[in-house]
């Protein structure tokens, strides 16, 4: 039981770090295009609004995103404060990703004999999954 609690403590702590990174540190990120984007733009010239003005490059047939949405481009639509806009969108993204991924993984998690035994025997909760792991990964390597 204590292990279970400490695991959740770790997850909550990690989540706080992620929220800090996405909510605050993200504002200090480089605004330059990333490796993919810059490679795709190579060969074209751009104006101040980032529209292609000439040349030949892989990005020239790029089209609009299908959805866009209020959080498009990691900002909150209509929020003029860039710092808040980026930070809040990051916080929402972290919570949403954790909710979707954590929820989905929780739903499909293994609840076979091992899981049932671990649940019924709190003292062995930490040991059971580990004991079962080598065989599971042995097949994983094959």
């Amino acid at each position: 039981m204590t292990l279970r609690k400490r695991s959740w403590g770790f997850v909550v702590g990690g989540l706080l770090v992620a929220l800090l990174l996405a909510g605050v540190v993200s504002n200090f990120a480089s605004a330059h295009p990333d490796g993919l984007d810059s490679s795709l733009r190579k060969g074209c010239t751009f104006d101040a609004d980032d529209e292609i003005t000439g040349g030949n490059c892989p990005a020239q047939e790029e089209r609009e995103h299908e959805i866009g949405g209020p959080l498009a481009d990691y900002g909150i639509a209509g929020l003029d404060n860039d710092f808040l806009s980026t930070g809040l969108s990051g916080v929402l993204g972290v919570l949403l990703t954790f909710g979707v991924a954590g929820g989905a993984f929780w739903l499909v998690r293994r609840r076979g004999p091992e899981g049932a035994r671990a649940g019924a025997d709190p003292a062995g909760a930490g040991g059971q999954p580990d004991a079962g792991r080598p065989s599971a990964t042995a097949t994983g390597q094959g």
């Binding site: 770790f10 580990d130 792991r133």
Partner: protein, 238 residues
């Protein structure tokens, strides 16, 4: 206001090729669900949720690379493979890409299969093969763990970038005169530099988690050394 596109946008790769990779990605993720379920217990599920959320956060942190006007950001494949294993790790990266495409307008929805194939399938496969190899040959020390994470992360980023070049060869929308050497060159060089950043972030994160909770590092649990040296397992030793 510039747009912040990190992943393949609509119109870069033609529809048929994007559709083929959507099928490939869907099949790969279905396989990962089947295999990943064997790893996913009460302890790994919340940890995997955290890994996905953490990758989302760190992908927002574009860092400058030593080329003028170009930045890089974490892809996260090696980090996920290290912490939660290749199957669940691939699903973590895929969830991040789906959230980014559907909610943040980053990466075309029609291009999701291409992005998932590069970062969640190719990147993770390269990373985990290297992790499995290096953890067996390198000493079981913090330095060995750090080198493993660094090398796996660096190589996985370059391989994922070359996955895009292959996709562009198959279905790129702009005629580059049949010569992809230029694109392959800029992709490889920029992602080699990004890979260094990816390696540093991955090694730092993995070493930190291994110091605090070594039992939460999948690679340390799954890839046990021949001689069980200094891997503290919490009540897991038979």
């Amino acid at each position: 206001m510039e747009t912040l596109a990190m992943h393949i946008s609509n119109g870069i790769i033609n529809g048929p090729v994007a559709a083929i990779f959507a099928v490939i990605a869907l099949a790969a993720m279905a396989f990962c669900v089947v295999r990943g379920r064997q790893d996913l217990d009460d302890r790994l599920a919340p940890m995997a949720g955290l890994v996905a959320a953490f990758i989302f956060a760190v992908q927002m942190l574009n860092f400058p690379i030593f080329t003028a006007g170009v930045s890089g950001h974490l892809l996260g494949g090696a980090l996920a493979a290290m912490l939660v294993g290749p199957w669940v790790g691939a699903l973590c990266v895929a969830v991040v890409l789906v959230v980014q495409a559907l909610v943040f307008g980053d990466g075309g929805v029609a291009m999701l299969g291409l992005n998932i194939t590069n970062m969640a399938v190719i990147g993770i496969a390269a990373a985990y093969l290297l992790i499995a190899l290096l953890l067996r040959v390198l000493p079981r020390t913090t330095a060995g763990l750090a080198v493993t994470a660094f090398v796996a992360a660096l190589v996985s980023v370059v391989v994922a970038a070359l996955g895009f070049v292959l996709q562009y060869q198959l279905g790129g929308t702009t005629d580059l005169g049949g010569n992809l050497a230029g694109l392959a060159g800029t992709m490889a060089v920029s992602h080699l530099l990004i890979g260094i950043g990816e390696g540093l972030i991955t090694a730092t994160t993995v070493v930190t988690v291994a110091k605090v909770r070594p039992d939460l590092v999948y690679a340390l649990r799954a890839l046990k050394p021949a001689t069980p040296a200094s891997v503290p397992t919490v009540g897991g030793v038979r």
